[in-house]
């Protein structure tokens, strides 16, 4: 690991100032992803700003009837919160499908959104990777791509976003709240938060340098059957091959988002409209224009079949 300086801050203003003072600095919260990448020298910040004391670790109701989740709320606590379990079950389910008990105890809400891809070529520093080293090429295009993306991909990158939580946040229409170094706040719809790879796969979100996530806001509950179905190589503690987050109302209408298929949680509002016509129609709308590799072409039928299972469960 490269040497780095370190400081603790106790307010968002201090955090912003600390980042501004140190070009190339990073915030650290749970650290479960960042430290892993620092050990491999994929991330090499010269300075870490520890934000664990910012007191952004609680959930409060919003005036609109939704919930405002503090950025530092741990995955375990968010999944176990009574309001989340009752009114946003798909979010609890997605969180509990991810990682291990130990990791969920450390990982935070904001950090989960900012997880970096698990593409094996991103991790293998002896191979070209446009995400790790812009312009070096993509080893995955002609490599082992079973785990990788099938839609929204580019010639520069076919990596997927690894989060389960973010897929549930997408189907719930969450909003990401931030503050920048100048103290200005903004609210970013989750749909616009993560970027597609294009020719700049190293830029993964719309966050500006030094911009800090303070909360994720959920709109008022929408009811319905809320289901998160994750398909993976092991029964537990594995990243998704594909996952389906769905909210299905009694009349068969609803919304659906996918994980494990793209550089961001994948939702096409036109596919929501097809949901009442069944899994085939919805899956076709979700994956129109997909460009799978021979290695991961199985993901297309897997999405349709998993969605069919989800819709059956919702009607039960």
């Amino acid at each position: 690991m490269k040497a780095f300086t370190y400081e603790r801050v106790s307010s968002p203003a201090q955090a912003a100032a600390a980042i501004a003072r140190h070009p190339g600095a990073k915030f650290i919260a749970g650290g479960t992803n960042l430290l892993d990448l620092m050990k491999l020298q994929i991330e090499t910040p010269a300075h870490l700003v520890d934000i664990n004391s910012l007191k952004l670790d609680r959930i409060e109701p919003t005036p609109e009837g939704g919930l405002r989740i503090g950025a530092l709320m741990r995955n375990t606590d968010l999944a176990a919160d009574e309001r989340i379990r009752r009114d946003y079950g798909v979010l609890s389910r997605a969180l509990l499908a991810g990682a291990s008990g130990q990791l969920r105890n450390r990982a935070t809400t904001a950090g989960n959104l900012l997880q970096r891809t698990r593409c094996p070529y991103f991790y293998d520093t002896s191979q070209p990777c446009n995400k790790r080293e812009p312009g070096s090429g993509c080893s995955a295009l002609d490599g082992v791509s079973r785990q990788l993306g099938i839609i929204g991909v580019s010639e520069a990158c076919i990596a997927t976003h690894p989060s389960d939580m973010a897929v549930a946040m997408r189907v719930l229409d969450a909003t990401v709240e931030t503050v920048d170094a100048g103290g200005a706040t903004r609210a970013i719809p989750i749909a616009e938060f993560h970027r597609l790879p294009g020719d700049t796969p190293h830029i993964e979100t719309v966050l500006e340098p030094g911009e800090l996530i303070t909360a994720v806001t959920l709109p008022p509950p929408v009811g319905g059957k809320q289901i998160y179905r994750k398909v993976r190589d092991r029964a537990s503690y594995a990243f998704a091959l594909i996952s389906v987050a769905a909210i299905v109302q009694q009349d068969g209408t609803g919304r659906v988002a996918l994980g494990g298929v793209a550089h961001k949680p994948w939702r096409i509002e036109a596919a929501d409209a097809e949901l009442s016509r069944g899994a085939k129609a919805a899956a076709e709308a979700l994956l129109a224009g997909a460009k799978p590799t021979p290695d991961n072409a199985f993901k297309r039928p897997l999405v349709e079949r998993t969605l069919a299972a989800v819709l059956t469960e919702a009607r039960a």
């Binding site: 430290l35 892993d36 520890d50 291990s100 008990g101 990791l103 450390r106 029964a235 537990s236």
Partner: protein, 211 residues
Amino acid sequence: MVGSDDVDLNRRDLMVGAGACAALPALPGAAMAQPESGERTVELQISLKVNGQSHTLNVDTRTSLLDLLRENLHLTGTKKGCDHGQCGACTVIVDGRRINSCLTLAVMHEGGEITTIEGLGQPDNLHPMQEAFIKHDGYQCGYCTPGQICSSVAMLEEIKAGIPSHVTADLLAPVHLTESELRERMSGNICRCGAYSNIVEAITEVAERQG
């Protein structure tokens, strides 16, 4: 106070291929970059409590909590398996929660309270979970065992606190300990010897005794 160990510092310096790395005086809560060129170390002073005993020591900011326990405090019961949060051998209990000590920095635990396998029980005063692992033969080589035991002790507390899991059928009903619950909740602890069925028996016995 337990100071940093010169032997360990020299070894770390060799590992990063650095020459002499003068440590900076410790600054509370902040550290400055060494102005020299080449690889540098940055040290910070931290205070934390491990198994009830207070320690104040200077550590390289890069030191994981795992390395602090093993290399600085010589508490070698906690094991380093993958060092990437995938195997669970390094599981310890920090402020009441089980975590992977390899994926957290020592300096992030100023004022923290850490319990390792040495704090749960000693050879002449075993923790009930340690006794149960022995009785049910919940290990072969034993390398993952301290992590399995720390994890399982904290896991039973998570169930008592009503935290649901991936296999909990009803998110709104109380959690019951079943074998599938136990296996799901312990999936962050890998046993290469495959002693899982005996590990399940050991944890089940302790859980049932706790009621």
